[in-house]
Symmetry: C2
Subunit: 159 residues, 2 copies
């Protein structure tokens, strides 16, 4: 047995210079948040993630830090769907220059694909954006404004 | 602008009590390593990951820490394919009780699916395990011992 008391070359995560820290993500959702940011499989992004750590507020939470990246509105709106308590901190020059709480929406427009294959919002030639009302938050259930189908597996159906 | 000099509720990653630290993963491969461990999408696992941090040895490297998990041989062998410099540290009661360097194999048996759809190793009724020789390590190219097809996108073809 090694005498090393602590872990090797641990995960001492340095503060980031510029980028985004997404905190208070619902426990276990971090990989879905990364997917929303376009980070999946092999990646060049400098990222740190913790998943399912203790949180007073949420029980378990995840945190994602991405260097040199700020989020666009569509990404923030998608994160709000799967992590409605998330806070988004924009870091510039080691300072938190902006801090947002995402807002769980009542209506979801243009972010999620309807589960019904032949819903008008899925026809490539129809210029109709998908539109849902939120039926329930936990678990998240969205009702299509056109065909009324309920979509539940939101991560799978994100655009 | 906030006066906080450091980031909020940072990623202070605590040492793990029991589990596995996989270090010296080739930069950008951590999400593929997680996939090998069965951690994808929404997860219950307690995991920390850093991706593309500076490494003297590798230029950029990733580190994955998973609590309460030890790897089986097939997982170690798959990690060796995509991260041939990885070190695997088994932690028990905060001590490193085992440390392994993975070994890039010369032959790969039963880990990867051949790209040829009708290769004998892909026929569900044939009891033939896939078998490849390594043609090149960077990038990793595997040659099927049956149909001789070269498989390059290893992550996609892992069993």
């Amino acid at each position: 047995m090694s005498e090393i008391k602590d872990e090797p070359k641990g995960l001492r995560v340095k503060p980031i210079n510029n980028g985004t820290v997404i905190d208070h993500i619902a426990g276990g959702q971090a990989l879905n948040v990364l997917k929303i940011l376009g980070i999946a499989g092999t990646t060049d992004a400098t990222v740190s993630v913790v998943m399912n750590v203790e949180s007073r507020k949420l029980g378990k939470k995840d945190i994602v830090k991405v260097e040199d990246r700020e989020l666009d509105k569509s990404q923030v709106d998608k994160i709000a769907l799967i992590a409605p308590n998330a806070t988004i901190n924009i870091i510039r020059n080691y300072n938190v220059v902006e801090k947002h709480h995402v807002e769980a929406p009542k209506e979801v427009v243009g972010l999620v694909r309807c589960e019904t294959p032949n819903c008008i919002t899925n026809k490539p030639r129809e210029p109709v954006r998908s539109k849902f009302t939120v039926v329930s938050y936990e678990p998240l259930q969205l009702k299509c404004g056109y065909c009324e189908r309920i979509t539940t597996d939101i991560v799978k159906h994100l655009f």
